[in-house]
Symmetry: C2
Subunit: 289 residues, 2 copies
């Protein structure tokens, strides 16, 4: 038997399908059984060889599963957790691929109760332009970051098993608390999306919006690329991580207030200080990537 | 004699050098004489064939010039205008390449006085990663937009001459008032730069900033690309266009306040409305480019 004998995944799309493929490539799994919202996507995942079997009733598949990955949109996770909780085997470890963590942890605590030690939250940082089973790739996680946000109830062995699974996928593993995770991603991902959506929206609702878009150029293109992101997904992320996003928005508004004061006061020196530090740090970051 | 016999340019870098090269390619000019801040850059422009001659004293070159392009940073334009104003011939037409217009017009009115009808402000929308004479290209303006912001004093013939020069460079010509120009560019260019600088600065000044940059990914990369822009140039643009930028910042802050309310009120419907409209408009814009 291989390292992870039976793996169950919920959602056989980009995240779940790539996870399954990567573990198969590493010969670390005997069987992957998958659950999905539509028979069609499960059929596609089967035909693409991402999974071995489409599951019918989760209740029948949890008892002997070694590892369960919940790779659905975060909004669907509480329902799935409640459905599987009664059936987990004593050896079954559950992890997830959600991009927010405090809300997932809260849902998991509510659903798993005294089995919460069996759940290790995780967030693979590997988006892509496309989604669905056909977007899955065996090397999606190669060299990518996966943040694991352990709970105090997790014992070392359980935590190591989840880290090991992601490491087999080729990922670099980081550990953060769920709270710190959510703060960091609010700042570097969620807030920028909000700001980009806001800019385009503010232009779009003007009577003469066409004139503005006529003269938008390459800087605008870069800044607003993320405003073409999926509205429902970003609504859910914003609601899921609203506390941290509101905190970051508050900080950012203060930063804008400072720039407004510098403009009002014709304070070129202050503007240049802010721009210079930003440029330096942005360039250092880019050269490290 | 060709259409524009003698052309004088101030600043033989990307903007001025490309303008000279394009007019030469179109055989629309007999002689290009250039002025610059350093002898070295003029020498380089000469060697690259961008210009025919490095000027020594502007006073001696204006009287028989047909067209003068001021293609320096905006901050240097008032001084140049004052120096050349007394020597313009009756046929000499002056234009500029500044990215803000109300401040340039104010400087021109102060410098040119009753010769203001000879000045036609313009803004070629053709930045590039690089600058200086070696970055100049004969086709820089091909298919690019040039915004001309005529003054009420300009007669049709003068205006047509400037539009014709830019058209010979291959540009598409647009006409806006200086005020409307500055509002549009505050919204689609200057404000996004400010917002991008602000985000990176806000992260950079945190004690644990390294952790934030560790998890910054592709969305952050796009959003902050313009935060690597030139600090002095953007300081000058912000000061030159501060009234319009402050107005746009005010609008944008209101937009953020609305999103904050939606987050506070758990109003997913409102968030999705904003995101959906932004996405739709951003995608339509991108597909038109």
């Amino acid at each position: 038997m291989s390292e992870f004998g039976k793996v169950a995944i919920f959602g056989a799309g980009l995240i779940g399908g790539s996870f399954a493929l990567a573990l198969k490539s590493a010969r670390a799994v005997d069987e992957v059984v998958a659950f999905g919202r539509t028979p069609a996507s499960l059929q596609e995942a089967l035909e693409l060889g991402l999974i071995d079997r489409a599951g019918i009733n989760p209740a029948h598949e949890m008892g002997d599963a070694d590892l369960v990955l919940i790779a659905t949109p975060v909004a669907q996770m509480p329902g799935i957790m409640e459905r599987i909780a009664p059936y987990l085997g004593p050896q079954t470890i559950v992890t997830d691929g959600g991009s927010t963590k405090c809300d997932v942890v809260a849902a998991a605590r509510a659903a798993f109760g005294d089995k919460i030690a069996q759940f290790v939250p995780a967030h693979p940082i590997a988006g892509a332009e496309n989604s669905g089973p056909s977007a899955a790739r065996h090397d999606l996680y190669q060299g990518k970051k996966v943040v694991v946000t352990p709970l105090e109830e997790n014992d070392d062995e359980t935590l190591d098993r989840v880290k090991r699974a992601w490491a087999l996928c080729g990922a670099d593993i980081y550990e953060l608390t769920p709270e710190y995770h959510d703060r960091v991603f609010a700042a570097v991902s969620h807030l920028p999306h909000l700001l980009s959506f806001a800019l385009v929206h503010d232009l779009a609702v003007r009577e003469d919006s066409e004139m503005f878009f006529t003269f938008a150029a390459s800087g605008f293109r870069d800044f607003t690329r993320i405003a073409a992101s999926h509205p429902e997904m970003w609504r859910d992320i914003c609601l899921a991580n609203r506390a941290a996003i509101l905190q970051e928005l508050e900080r950012y508004t203060q930063e804008l207030d400072e720039l407004r004061s510098a403009l009002l006061g014709n304070d070129g020196e202050r503007l240049q200080q802010v721009f210079s530090l930003a440029r330096q740090v942005r360039r250092e970051w880019a050269s490290d990537q």
